[in-house]
Amino acid sequence: MPGKLKAKIVAGRHLPVMDRASDLTDAFVEVKFGNTTFKTDVYPKSLNPQWNSEWFKFEVDDEDLQDEPLQITVLDHDTYSANDAIGKVYIDIDPLLCSEAATVISGWLPIYDTIHGIRGEINVLVKVDLFNDLNRFRQSSCGVKFFCTTSIPRCYRAIMVHGFVEELVVNEDPEYQWIDRIRTPRASNEARQRLIFLMSGELQRKIGLKVLEMGGNAVVGYLQCFDLEGESGLVVRAIGTACTLEKISTFPATATHPSNSSPSKDMKEPVFGEEAPGVPLSSGPPTPLRAQTFSSFSPSKSYSRQSSSSDTELSLTPKTGMGSGGSAGKDAGPLKALLKQQTQSALEQREYPFFTLTVFPPGFLLHVGGVVSARSVKLLDRIHNPDEPETRDAWWEEIRQEIKSHAKSLGCHAVVGYSESTSICEEVCILSASGTAAILSSRFMQDGPLDTELRFEEVVSPGCGFCHIPYDELNIPFPAQLTYCYCCRRYKVPDVLFTTIDLPTEASVTGKGCLIQARLCRTKKKAQGEVNAMAISNLLPFLEYELHTQLMNKLKLRGMNALFGLRIQISVGETMLLGLASATGVYLTALPSPGGIQIVGKTPSDITYEQHISNMQKKINDTITKNKELYEINPPEVVEEIIGSPIPEPRQRSRLFRSHSESSDDVSEIDLSHGKKDAFVLEIDDTDAVEDIHALLTDSPTPAGFYSCNTEIMPGIQNWTSAIQMFTSVRVFRLNANLTNQGLNKIFSDLCENLLKSLYFKLRSMVPCCLCHLNFTVAIPEDELIQVAVTAVALSFDKVQTLENGKQSGEKTPIKAITENDEQLQFNLELNAETSSSSISPKGLSEVGSHPSARDRCSSWIEQLKLKAHTIRRGSVKTTSSMEKASPLPEGRSRSLRSNRSYSGSSVAVVKMTPLSFIPGAKIIKYLGIINMFFIRETSSLREEGGVSGFLHTFIAEVFAMVRAHVAALGGNAVVSYSMKECVFMENPNKNQAQCLINVSGDAVIFVRESELELTSVQPQSATTQTSNGGEGT
């Protein structure tokens, strides 16, 4: 009996009128956990009942605490007929189970009904007493912290990064059970909501167990998804990165400092020679040469089909990879740098050396190879035994193995920025996984050898190190252009770099970045079963290839040379496939300047034709020039002279560099980059190509004052103001029948462009501003419908300083993001300092390093003070509010007086939401736990609710409201790393019905404005009041 859950129902407000005769409601509340239910008294005839109940106590296993939500149902008492349900509140207990997260849930939570939406609010208090049982972690994993954030959370420091954790659970979907035919839609929706709550609880617990097994205490980059497989069931799956985190502010900075710095000091001393094998500390098996393992994936076979053994399911796996990842080619030969294998061996002992992180502690990410991705088309069948989700596991295993082998072929031992997704249409399911092949430092790895490698790698300045190719020059199976790094001039870099991660903070970037999207539609014939799956898997490689070409063209058109945050989504419908690739393009200073785009006509006989081509060429060249100006891309012009000069041989390095080009794609038969040194050639031989070029040029530029990216931060902009605006926008288009591929493409592209334009217009008051973390999701809800959903945040910045920065970067100096991010990267500034001091990089970097670390130390103190102040405040607020609630105002009092009080007293606390992991101008001082909510809304009076738009608008607003309320109840004032992972919308206008499912997640946090922090250091007391007002900015 390791836990006691206590709940108290205080009051309700704004309840709906349930009794038409009296215009009032006789409300009472049922509180249910597991199989135990308590009830409050009926509070008669009031829309603002004051139950002020006793503490309801549930004595439960902590396993249940993790799995089950607390379910609160508000009902209207009816003497003669059955009591009517008003609505429900599900409360996730999980944040209370971790000592470092929230301690109490207290506040007004919206009462939600799947048919009517929010119907008033209820004030509850929930606490958990966990008994300290030494033997407690058997089935439960209480205490493991979960973060959606894909970086090390802001007030923690990574001690160890253990690696990939994954789990999936399956069940029958209540919507498709036989009982659904006889129960009400409400009952069915509630059964579904509850089941998904249970399943995600169970999933989280199981993942937690794995983390504990690995010796970690947290999951970072936790990504949980639902697959609504219809008849065949419901899958909830999650991936994440297990870590051991240490809270920074709980220790004085001085105390943690030496302990952490010692290992890296060791690194500095060149104890081992380069040839030293760097024996892994853990006694793993000797690493086999990677070559043997996956040699079967030759490039020519890259989309070969494999039938799986089971005969009910058909496995069609187009083994395509995007970008460099596509080079699932012959594996690297024996010519492999030894030192890499050392870390590699450590990683290879793992099943999957994957990391869901997209931002890394400095020094962790050494080299980036390129994007690796894999897709597989599967036919769904009923999940016969929910307890043994083996089929689904096997599917994912297959894909992950493929990813792993792709990474290997790029000479990388790890995959970072890893994510998985599915698209389902009827019984066909596309499973996708993608990530960025990379080489990591073993510094944060438990079983890694103690860094023989590090000191070599760190010779390289951090601004360009990650760009240096990790793979072997000799074994790249296709021609490519490698040049010496434009920063350090010592190592080779590719001409273009595609990645799924965020722009490393230390990267040197010239100018600003921008959102780049490739959009594609492909029609396909309606088909069933295997034929359908086959058709889809035949189409996929072409889709990916074209997306890639589009991305490449658009990148060149903007004069940029690297993509970050690349996310390719392929969505399947009955008669078409949709592909949407989004990424943020930047100009990496280390990479060569991209050549232009050269158009070549196929039949150069006709003069008008040639003219046409030269016109187009001119247009393209103009656009490139314009874009370079717009994004302030003025790379230093010194390049050419040095390139000819002898290259300083990296000291003691025996590794040879091999050329490889990102631009080539194994899927393509024609190698586009072949033979051309600086220009990207577009051959116009048919209307398709003309269309492509046309599409290229019609991408409208962002209006003045706006920037956009799909990564966390925008290079080149630093001085964010505190004004942030998170938003979700959804559009559904109905297509006419019988559209050609090109027609479809245009419509789809226009749809995305128009959506962006609308966003710019909506947010015009925030100019100058940047839309960050623009996350597009496409779906084909039914035949002839395209749904696009966008969630992003608009951040305002100060113009004046931007201009200065612009000039700076324009002149020549690449912006060192490091300094700017000092504050944000609180968590491992010490490391940062060491990194720079240990590096032999020339310009006073060490100075930069030591300075912030001192600053960090004192700001940690401030943080601590702040935290104390904050807990005091929360405590006091609690007591006052409970006192207020404890004395419900007697009904008899004068009306005007009463209304007075209730109105002035309680205004709603502001809760910020952002898909980013940070809040500009503010410091996150505490993580309160993960928010993971799933809602279903249904209506059978669609017209009355304002049609589909009215219905969805209300629902999304309600979801936001519920997220905010739950965060506020945890004591938080913001949600970071917020994302809407699912928005499934179905309508039947003829029946006047619609249904929508939304799944959102994020991390609840407490933040404090930096301006207030300064105040705090002087006078902690005054800050207590400041904090409470902290959120009112926007």
Partner: protein, 357 residues
């Protein structure tokens, strides 16, 4: 190809003031888009008509969703559905409850009933204000009326607190409620020259001086109704015109005081008895609800019009009324000083306001 669904939801609800005003003014989405295009927002922001339409629809939807809350402004601060900064909330409320002077003149003093609401299309045609906007304004009046009707305590304060309105707007609403409750006639042709603010001023005077709440501030007092006891007492003032001696005495006192100080002395002297009878008769009749309704007509007919035809200036008027009021206190046999002061104070300020040179 058509947009089937198009929504935008911000964590902080985005509301465009200009679109809000168009919505309040009862424009259809298409008309609003036209107005916005003419306003030049498109060039400013490099937007297309399509974008503008989408934005306008979206905003209209947001406002419609908010409207329910605006009916109970206090709920706006308490609700969780929309995160709206406090200054925005205040703006929303203030603009929602703002009304057109043209419109309010049409319904001022009318019973806020279904019947009146049915006639709003006529009002709309007459004033050029859209029917939708007329309905909103009318419903606002009615809603405020219903809520404060049963409330105790000072009227303006009640309105201010329940509807979170700024002070001036709350006063205006108090006037509207007060007029509607007492059904003052304001629509007659003779009163057409008066603005709403003229009436609102008078309402303020009446509320502050002639209601029960004006004399003692006990909680159970009502500001909406006139003080019955006071109205009863007003009958006693009749003595000023029925008693011939008193009337003559009063006249001579006023004439003495005014001689040489005004250009309209002769007209004043000639008209004194008529004017005095007019004012005192109004006082004496106020006990009848029907005559209360005609209060403003009577003031205009019995006093203001005669003076205007004699070309009195506002200064003359002020002078006359001051001495007329004060002289009564000197009369030996006149005992009703308190009632007289309470009555004449209001009458004087009302007449001065209603008298447009």
């Amino acid at each position: 190809m058509s947009v089937e669904l198009d929504v935008f939801v911000g964590n902080t609800t985005i509301m465009d003031k200009e679109v809000y005003q168009l919505w309040l003014n009862g424009y259809t989405v298409n008309d609003a888009v036209k107005v916005r295009i003419e306003g030049g927002v498109m060039e400013e922001c490099e937007a297309s008509a399509e974008v503008l339409l989408s934005d306008t629809m979206d905003q209209y939807r947001t406002f419609q969703m908010c409207e329910r809350l605006l009916h109970h402004p206090a709920k706006l601060a308490n609700q969780l559905l929309f995160q709206i900064p406090p200054d925005r909330q205040a703006m929303l409320i203030e603009r929602y409850y703002a009304f057109d002077d043209l419109f309010v003149r049409e319904v001022l003093g009318k019973k806020l009933s279904k019947g009146t609401k049915k006639d709003l299309d006529d009002v709309s045609t007459k004033t050029g204000i859209t029917l939708k906007s007329c309905r909103r304004q009318f419903d606002n009046f009615k809603r405020v009326f219903k809520v404060v009707e049963e409330l105790k305590g000072p009227l303006v304060e009640n309105i201010r607190q329940h509807f979170l309105l700024p002070d001036q707007l709350a006063r205006d609403y108090a006037a509207i409620v007060f007029f509607a409750n007492n059904r003052f006639e304001t629509g007659k042709k003779k009163l057409q020259y008066l603005t709403f603010q003229d009436f609102a001023f008078c309402a303020g005077q009446l509320i502050n001086n002639w209601t029960l709440g004006a004399v003692d501030n006990m909680m159970e007092d009502m500001d909406v109704d006139l003080d019955k006891e006071f109205l009863q007492d007003l009958k006693d003032l009749k003595i000023l015109i029925t008693d011939k001696d008193l009337l003559d005495q009063h006249k001579s006192l006023v004439c003495t005081a005014l001689r040489g100080k005004t250009n309209v002395y002769n007209e004043m002297e000639a008209n004194f008895k008529n004017l005095s009878r007019g004012l005192v008769n109004i006082a004496a009749k106020l006990i009848n609800a029907k005559d209360v309704r005609d209060f403003f007509i009577d003031l205009v007919e019995k006093f203001i019009e005669p003076c205007r035809s004699d070309k009195w200036t506002s200064i003359d008027m002020n002078l006359y009324l001051t001495h007329y009021t004060n002289s009564a206190h000197i009369l030996d046999t006149f005992k009703h000083h308190a009632v007289w002061t309470r009555y004449m104070g209001v009458i004087k300020s009302c007449i001065l306001r209603l008298y447009h040179d």
